[in-house]
Symmetry: C2
Subunit: 253 residues, 2 copies
DNA sequence: GGGTGGGCTATAGCATACAGTCGGCGAGAT
DNA sequence: ATCTCGCCGACTGTATGCTATAGCCCACCC
């Protein structure tokens, strides 16, 4: 200890774990003085969450700390911390003395997530209609046209992104950060469950969006909330429908 | 340390924990429901959360890992993991390279938590009325009388506990685990904010409970939801009222 | 042949060690 | 006297080491 200047060998502990830096997209060559360290655990969290969402890690799969650490080029410590956080947010189950397993979604859970989301999103729309500023409404309309464009282009990826952006903006307009936090949590998991079965509802959904924006713009909070409720409710129905279709398809094949 | 399980075992490759296994295993069929070691991090989490709730740790206070670890007789590792979880649940802020600080509640945040709670609790009451079984309704009435008893005894502690138990049971009756999880999260923080300012509303609140239970028992979901909404809304109002009173008192003193 | 217990291996949980960074404080310069 | 710069202590972030446990395999017993 206290070997600050004198004995610090310059050769020790330098180029390591750079691969992760690249993985989380750090194209900068020059550094800014204000640049925060950005803890490794954050990067690890992002990577693992990503792998879970796009099914690189299957539900039920055992996540071995050593493997992940080796794979990512870091020690077990940041991996553990990332797993903790993933656990808190419902992505993985942590069985004492056994470790982390990718959470296995159940149909019941998906349904509860979807209906809870309906509740929260409807409230956010209601509040948004109450508090909307002209700039925010303008922004909403922009996002709507982005979605329309994606629809014309028939670009699923862009459509999903536009949809998320629009909903996120409504949530932000509600001004309720607690609500926003809960929606963010629920929403990500919804997307995870939902993704293998269905994509956006397309035309129909964006027509509903247009109407919703109209209500928000005119400050009709009651109808805005109601519309959003129905809107997300339909998404829920389409989830069940497509899941059923999927089963039938499975049975047929 | 070493006050947990007997940790002074010689690292011998042969003399493994035979004796302990036999002692714990006992004959057959006796136990082993799910006896798990219960990770240290859990215990640490509970202790720290408790300290935050009852103001042993003041808002804004810097939580130094070493101090906590020494105080609790464990290493920094479990402490760090507990802090992670506390961060995810909004109890502490984690500033990179600076460490953990007890979250400083703002009035805006308290209000948003209270109104979000209103939304969630109302929904849980609505669902509870829809799905209630006779046994659950019976249990509700029991809890109500426990509350009435506490009211007669003028026991604040018992009253708070009874109130929490009743609400928790309604939530459980809703059958929606996602909703329950969100409410649990929001509710604990509400209690934290609320506790220094106000206690339960007493008589009034329990009259409202009685009516609510009536609606749940008769399966009137619409009115049950509405009642719960008003019920928690009044709690919110009383929060603002008492906070204002407190300010005036502060100014006067 | 089937059940049972011992031992082995892999892995989580916890502890310790090390390195980098932040903020403060004081000595020296202006 | 005030400002600046470099040193220092403290603490976090990361890595590594150690130990106990869970689950499995196989040998052994019935």
């Amino acid at each position: 200890m206290t070997d600050r200047r004198g004995t610090t060998s310059p050769a020790g502990a330098n180029g390591r774990r750079r691969s992760l830096g690249a993985a989380r997209g750090e194209p900068r060559a020059a550094r800014q003085p204000l640049e925060r360290p950005a803890p490794l655990r954050e990067a690890v969290y992002d990577v693992i969450a990503e792998m879970i969402i796009n099914r690189e890690l299957q539900p039920g799969e055992h996540l071995v700390e050593n493997e992940l650490a080796a794979h990512l080029g870091v020690s077990r410590q940041p991996v553990r911390e990332a797993l903790q956080r993933l656990h808190n947010e419902g992505w993985v189950d942590l069985r004492p003395a056994l470790g982390a397993f990718v959470h296995v979604p159940t149909e019941e859970e998906a349904d509860q997530l979807l209906s809870t989301r309906t509740l929260l999103e409807a409230e956010s729309a209601r509040l948004a209609a109450k508090l909307a500023t002209p700039e925010q409404i303008e922004r909403l309309k922009e996002l709507q046209s982005v979605g329309e464009q994606a629809l014309s282009d028939d670009s699923q990826v862009a459509l999903v992104a536009a949809n998320a952006a629009l909903h996120a903006h409504v949530v932000e307009m509600s001004g309720n950060k607690v609500l926003a936090q809960l929606i963010a949590m629920v929403d990500r998991r919804v997307r995870w469950y939902y993704s293998p079965i269905a994509r956006t509802r397309g035309r129909e959904a964006w027509d509903e969006h247009a109407l919703l924006i109209e209500m928000i713009a005119t400050g009709n909070s009651r109808r805005a909330g109601e519309l959003m409720r129905r809107h997300t409710e339909r998404t829920r129905e389409s989830y069940h429908q497509r899941r059923k279709d999927g089963e039938e398809q499975d049975a047929a094949s």
